[in-house]
Symmetry: C2
Subunit: 411 residues, 2 copies
């Protein structure tokens, strides 16, 4: 082929390739997510990333309406969106089968989400996110459970209480302040967006006054709901939690409590993830309300945190045994042996590259495969194999039918 016309090897801008070492980390993150969600009795669901655009037009955060989604028209003239978040999808699914489903529902999913934006650290165009929601219970016990899960997730990733903190607010509290101040919808919306950025701007007071036309103060106390939530969390040993009146969270659909988890590292005091209660979301489908509380935790952020705190696991192969052969005439015998051993649940590679035996063993070593066996005439004749334990370099002489058992007992 003409070199001039060659195709680019780069992936599409702002998305990632996952080579096996990357996928290993991704699988680790997904497995902690799944294990933790299962431990609280949550069930996994999923959906396609393709959704009708109208799903996002009805009610969503400013950022999404503001043209940061991937939209296109399909050949049937339908407006299609690559989902930017999972909540509208799960609300749609629940609205659809509302009468068949038995509430409360504890549901989680690990969707990939898309945003059209300038790629930057921690903000790619595609990322995966754990979405966890509890539907059908409108009580602080459900709120507390979701915050406890958020806490447990970070614990299960190996973080300790001093490395993160949980901030809580109540939308009702803020809405009451806005209504006491007699703000109209536009002023309230602008002020809540400003509050969300409070820690990043110097002239908050001036900007707030410019919006509202009067001095604005956030010197307010936690309400009963927040106090009860914090007290319940403390009784479960979760003490890195506090009231934060400026916490708003981006999405407009939250109706009651909101919470957000922050990295306490002073060099990088960023938001890790968060969620809240949204009791009105089924409205858009013309369905009766279903109370809901949930959160989303992204893979890019969590990977970054684990890297910072040196909590990422080291790559480890799934392969247990590497079979080397002295020459091509042993391929069939090696493959038959491999089949037998695989039946016992052990993972086996047969090397039929035709390379020298020493190079084959070197390759097994490079791939950190824990056990190696070589097959040649001596082994076939005697029925005895030298099983090499790569970590110690030790060699054990075992019979053909003992190989699987030995590996099981020593891996």
């Amino acid at each position: 082929m003409d070199v001039m016309s060659k195709v680019s090897k780069e992936n599409y801008k702002g998305v990632r390739d996952f080579y096996p070492e990357d996928q290993f980390i991704q699988n680790y993150i997904f497995s902690v997510w799944k294990k933790t969600m299962h431990s609280f009795g949550f069930e996994q669901y999923d959906a396609s990333l393709l959704e009708s655009t109208e799903l996002y037009e009805a009610k969503s955060g400013e950022e999404i309406v503001g043209g940061q989604t991937y939209n296109f028209i399909d050949r049937g003239d339908r407006k299609v969106t690559l989902r930017p978040e999972m909540t509208p999808t799960v609300a749609r699914m629940i609205a659809k089968k509302k009468n068949e489903l038995s509430f409360p529902l504890r549901w989680f999913s690990i969707p990939n989400l898309f945003r059209y934006e300038r790629p930057q650290r921690g903000r790619l165009r595609e990322h995966w996110q754990l979405n966890a929601d509890l539907f059908g219970i409108d009580s602080i016990d459900a709120d507390v459970e979701m915050i406890e899960i958020a806490y447990t997730l970070l614990q299960n990733f190996g973080l300790n209480d001093s490395q993160f903190e949980i901030k809580i607010n109540n939308r009702r509290l803020i809405n009451k302040i806005f209504s006491d101040m007699k703000l109209d919808d536009i002023q309230a919306h602008k002020l809540s967006k400003l509050l969300d950025k409070k820690s990043k701007i110097d002239d908050f007071d001036e900007q707030a006054e410019a919006i509202t036309g009067k001095p604005f103060s956030l010197k307010i106390r936690a309400d009963e709901t927040i106090e009860a939530i914090i007290s319940k969390l403390r009784s479960r040993g979760i003490s890195n939690v506090s009231f934060s009146p400026e916490l708003m969270r981006g999405f407009d659909y939250y109706t009651d409590i909101v919470f957000e988890v922050f990295d306490t590292n002073p060099a990088n005091n960023r938001s890790l993830f968060g969620g809240g209660r949204y009791n009105d979301l089924l409205d858009i489908f013309g369905e009766e309300k279903v109370p809901a509380v949930g959160f989303g935790m992204g893979d890019v952020t969590i990977r970054d945190v684990l890297e910072t705190y040196d909590l990422l696991p080291k790559y480890k192969t799934e392969t247990d045994l590497y079979i080397c052969i002295f020459n091509d005439s042993f391929t069939n015998i090696a493959s038959e042996l491999a089949s037998k051993i695989r039946e016992t649940g052990i993972n086996v590679i047969v090397d039929y590259t035709g390379k020298k035996i020493g190079d084959q063993v070197k390759r097994a070593n490079k791939k950190q495969i824990p056990f190696v066996v070589c097959i040649g005439n001596d082994e076939i004749e005697s029925g005895k194999f030298k099983l090499k334990i790569m970590e110690s370099g030790e060699e054990k002489e075992v019979k053909r039918e003992q190989i699987a058992e030995f590996i099981k007992n020593n891996k």
Copy 2:
């Protein structure tokens, strides 16, 4: 909200929602795929479904060029495609890191793939596919390994040898016939597409003659490569394999052997999946050739087959224990107990719906959760709990700290 303007609850046409019962099946299929691929020493990779359109323009099957992909232009004027197959992506990834990667590579992935087509049975707009490839070995041992894996996958799903058959052909053999017949590229291409549909059309001979201008016969014998492959497979106990000269496979990139697995059910003698050797694919990146052999197996087809043969597993909850409480005052005690038990690896739900205790137990039963414990004054005072084993209806009196152990030993 106005009822007239309510949003549709339906998913986008031709894609699926996965409610927990559906996701359970999906997870089962993925787990058999992963377990089998790991047993042969394969490593998992992944990539984004967004790819530059040019990746598919260089070399691909007619069906894809023919406008059946999802393409759109992004805001940066880039042509983007939702991947219709994984092979070009994995070829791109390997081309990119060719010098760092240590061959041979045994790689698999479970991507979702997109095709713009009229939805019909087994052919949705989005489906998931196991993609398995062995890169870097140009020998029939690699071909045999891939066919052995295809066989083992179906075995691991519970199919027996009489329920499916594997057909093999060699592109070189067919290409030689075409060149002996002095067919030009267009004739050869048309004839190979026709061969792919041979079993579905009545007037194959007439249509073939119309393309080639002369009588066409497929009365040919297997070549040495195919005979050696079949013989090696038989020696590993795989006998439901045969030579099939009309087998072509849709994609143009296969260079040597191709194989396809068919359901033998006479009522539904369909193709299940297939693959082959493609040694030229890195060409399009201006890179040196890397020999490759692989296959793809779709979730929709395999689910359908398992359903037909009654091999789908029954839904089973991941939750082990359901804690009921007599009233709200026990919420905290129940939640603390749940936390402790979760630390031992047991999955626990606490019911704080406020419903009657009988209704709580009924709910646990409906969800088929195997163990239930109820918390009230008696239990708190005595420190002894009645653990109900739902399957037998039996009740065991256990101490608080014995609950976890009892469940571990009896689940």
